[in-house]
């Protein structure tokens, strides 16, 4: 790597570079679309480049799917559906167990690949993304032959062809969340990974090959939003699943209106992380950090609004600033790196513009002393204090390492402020008082609530939003419903 990890000047510790080897992953110069079990070029021969966000190095060139390719992929999925859905659930289960195992076997390779293509730290891909990906396949594998007992009636039927569009923040994990339940229930899929992170989905195609998955059951088409729109609108798609921005989610909801397509949407958020005066401050600080700086804050359920009880504001902010000064930003492949690169130039521009707006609107901006690498897309961890509910940084999803700090005096005020958003995906509560946790959790209008912890995920735990954060749940028994004709 060109850039050595930047150590925070004045920090207590100096670290020697500890880069994970990228020799474990072999990225081809180009990739085609994975349709009907084979890699093929786009019909019109178009390609686009995918770069490493931390260095801007071109990693590979991938095919850009057009409408004709979407059509071909849907046809392949349709053709495969008859046999796949007729397989005994126990056989489908074994394919999924195989996939889970191959992912475990190749997890280091995939972690390095994901870090290269996405820019997130290897510590996260290695310790969070990949274990969760394998666990998700393992979990849904077990459902495939037990659907009669899932609470959706006897012999629930699959929907058919699922068109799935996923974002760039957790490329392989979002793929797992989409494909595992779809296949377990007997659907076939056409999945479009995000334009800036196509590689892990293409590697997943190879995992399907190794697992012996019948051709056409999983099809991967790479491309930009136009390919996603064509997939969503395709008349032979029975199910649409999307994770991404609320604006695109609304457009998709309009597209499928008046059809019989089943729709689930996992969209944006502006999660409140509420810290009461009796909270264990050190743990709360760790939770705040993982809430907004995990994955550079590019997390739909990020705790991007810190609501802190007025009496402990100064103490908490001091601790938080001290902690942020120890975060290490730099080479995502370095095992000591906490903060990696922003995924794309476009996203960096958006974060930059919103943070500038926060400053222009009068909020107080703070970042730890932090040297940014000279190439790649980087944004220092940033705090805004003196934020009111009217500030843009308190209302808009920034999807970056930017935390807005607001205060409250009473639990009722905390709840009112937490709920004062069109979103409703996540929230956090920090207090030592059990009854207060339950009372506040009860009143928060959000789909996932973490008490005295944050950003925990598990395949058995349903995930999804209230209000404009979307509808439907992924994970757990609940996640089956999205792919069953019930």
């Amino acid at each position: 790597m060109a850039s050595a990890p930047a150590s925070a000047p004045g920090s207590a510790f100096e670290y020697a570079p500890a880069p994970e080897s990228r020799a474990v992953v072999d990225i081809a110069a180009s990739y085609g679309l994975f349709i009907d079990g084979e890699f093929t070029e786009a019909a019109d021969g178009k390609v686009f480049k995918t770069v490493s966000p931390s260095t801007e190095e071109v990693l590979s060139e991938v095919a850009e799917a057009g409408e004709a390719d979407v059509d071909r992929a849907v046809a392949a999925a349709r053709k495969a559906f008859e046999k796949w859905s007729a397989l005994p659930g126990s056989e489908r289960a074994k394919y999924l167990f195989r996939i889970a195992r191959v992912i475990q076997e190749r997890s280091r390779e995939l972690a390095v690949l994901e870090t290269l293509d996405n820019g997130k730290p290897i510590r996260e891909t290695r310790d969070a993304d990949l274990p969760l990906v394998a666990a998700h396949f393992f979990y849904y594998a077990g459902w495939a032959d037990k659907l009669d007992h899932a609470g959706y009636g006897a012999n629930p039927k699959p929907l058919g062809v699922a068109g799935q569009v996923i974002p760039w923040n957790f490329p392989l994990l979002m793929l797992a969340w989409k494909i595992a339940p779809a296949l377990a229930t007997g659907n076939t899929v056409v999945l479009k990974p995000a334009e800036t992170t196509p590689l892990s989905a293409l590697f997943f195609a190879d995992i399907c090959r190794q697992a012996g998955l019948p051709r056409g059951v999983v099809n991967i088409i790479t491309g930009d939003g136009r390919a996603g729109a064509a997939l969503v609108a395709h008349p032979d798609v029975n199910k649409v699943a999307f994770t991404g921005s609320t604006a695109v989610g609304k457009q998709i909801a309009r597209t499928v209106a008046g059809t019989r397509k089943k729709l689930t949407l996992e969209l944006g958020g502006k999660g409140a992380n509420i810290v009461f005066d009796d909270a264990p401050i050190d743990q709360a600080v760790e939770g705040i950090v993982s809430g907004i700086f995990f994955n550079q804050g590019q997390v739909c359920c990020a705790g991007s609004r810190l609501l802190v009880q007025e009496s402990i504001h100064d103490e908490l902010l001091d601790s938080l600033k001290r902690r942020l000064s120890t975060l290490r930003l730099g080479d995502p492949l370095d095992k000591n790196t906490d903060i990696g690169a922003i995924n794309s130039a476009e996203q960096l521009a958006r974060i930059t513009a919103l943070a500038d707006r926060g400053e222009a609107e009068g909020a107080e901006r703070w970042s730890p002393a932090c040297e940014l690498p000279s190439s790649g897309y980087w944004f220092a961890p940033t705090l805004f204090t003196n934020v009111t509910q009217a500030h843009t940084v308190a209302r808009d999803e920034i999807f970056g390492p930017v935390l807005s700090v607001l205060t409250f005096r009473t639990p009722d005020e905390a709840v009112a402020k937490a709920n004062n958003t069109p979103y409703g995906l996540s929230a956090g509560i920090w207090t030592e008082k059990g009854s207060r946790i339950l009372a506040v959790a009860n009143k928060l209008r959000a789909g996932v609530i973490w008490s005295n912890t944050f950003n925990k995920f598990d395949p058995t735990s349903p995930f999804g939003g209230y209000k404009e954060s979307g509808f439907g749940r992924e994970g757990g028994r609940h996640g089956l419903e999205a792919y069953l004709d019930v």
Partner: protein
């Protein structure tokens, strides 16, 4: 003097909004006739403003109703069945007129509607156990998923089944703690408007159910695009209207229940849980379980 010589007292049919019985703010009415075209009443022709007022009432009622115990909601739904049973003859007559049914066939409809309230009354404190529960996450956490009501639900009642159909779509919405703005069957709104007399005397808090009569398309449009409505049941919309409303509903990502095929007996079969789960959110809460040992609590 025989009864035939006594001039009967007509009822002025009014809307039901926020627990009160207002006329349409527009001052408009429309003529409602029976199946043979005979005049029955002038029903309020609700305006967009009436729809918005009803949303305000439903929102205001949501906190209390969703926060009530499930047991309490069950008691109130059962009370609705009791009140209906006592006024059975009135509803049989209204349903017979509205749908052109014989008294005996209308009686079956009303009986089934009463029984439907009883069915949903029993669901209020069971649905959470059926669709929620603990999740065995791989870590030291107690993780619990619970259903919660979506919020304010706009309900377009079925056009053909003026009473049983109406009850079949309203009861599941409120059983779980949602509040409702109901658009009655356009050509047969009177049984729905009369239902409000029972709702108002069953301890159901005002605003939990609001009932509007008028042109379905006219009232539904502002409800589908309303930013403070969380969901919409399109049972009473035809294909064209349903598509328009679903598009409008996308603006704030309302949960949309598309028109469903109605069973052959016209809402007569025992419903499943689908009409409840369509308007439920799943909330999942993670609690650290800590670890008790030499090192003490670990969270």
């Amino acid at each position: 003097m025989s009864d035939q010589n006594r001039l009967s007292v007509f009822k002025t049919y009014k809307l039901y909004v926020g627990g009160k019985f207002p006329r349409s703010e527009s001052g408009r009415v429309y003529e409602v006739t029976d199946a043979k075209g005979k005049w029955l009443a002038n029903a309020p022709l609700s305006s967009r403003k009436d729809a918005r007022d009803a949303v305000v009432a439903a929102r205001k009622a949501f906190g209390g109703w969703s926060g009530a115990t499930a047991y309490n909601r069950g008691q109130i739904l059962y009370r609705i069945a009791e009140m209906l049973e006592g006024r059975r003859d009135q509803y049989v007559a209204e349903v017979a007129d509205a749908e052109g049914l014989s008294k005996s066939k209308a009686g079956l409809q009303v009986d089934a509607a009463i029984d439907r309230w009883v069915w949903y009354a029993g669901w209020t404190d069971k649905i959470a156990q059926v669709v929620g529960g603990g999740n065995p996450v791989a870590g030291p956490f107690f993780n619990l998923s619970s259903p919660e009501p979506t919020g304010v639900v706009a309900v377009l009642a079925p056009q053909e089944s003026s009473f049983l159909g109406l009850v079949s779509v309203v009861a599941p919405v409120i059983a779980t703690g949602n509040t409702a703005v109901v658009v009655a069957s356009e050509k047969a709104p009177l049984p729905a408007l009369s239902l409000s007399e029972v709702l108002a005397t069953s301890d159901l808090p005002g605003g939990v159910v609001n009932i509007l009569s008028g042109r379905t398309a006219e009232i539904a449009a502002p409800l589908a695009s309303h930013q403070d409505v969380n969901a919409i049941d399109l049972a009473g919309a035809d294909e064209t209207l349903a598509k328009e409303l679903e598009i409008a509903a996308a603006d704030n990502l309302k949960r949309v229940l598309r028109p469903q095929p109605v069973d052959g007996g016209g809402w007569s079969t025992t419903p499943g849980t689908d009409r409840m789960t369509a308007f439920l959110e799943t909330k999942t809460v993670w609690h650290p379980t800590g670890a008790l040992g030499a090192s003490g609590s670990s969270y």
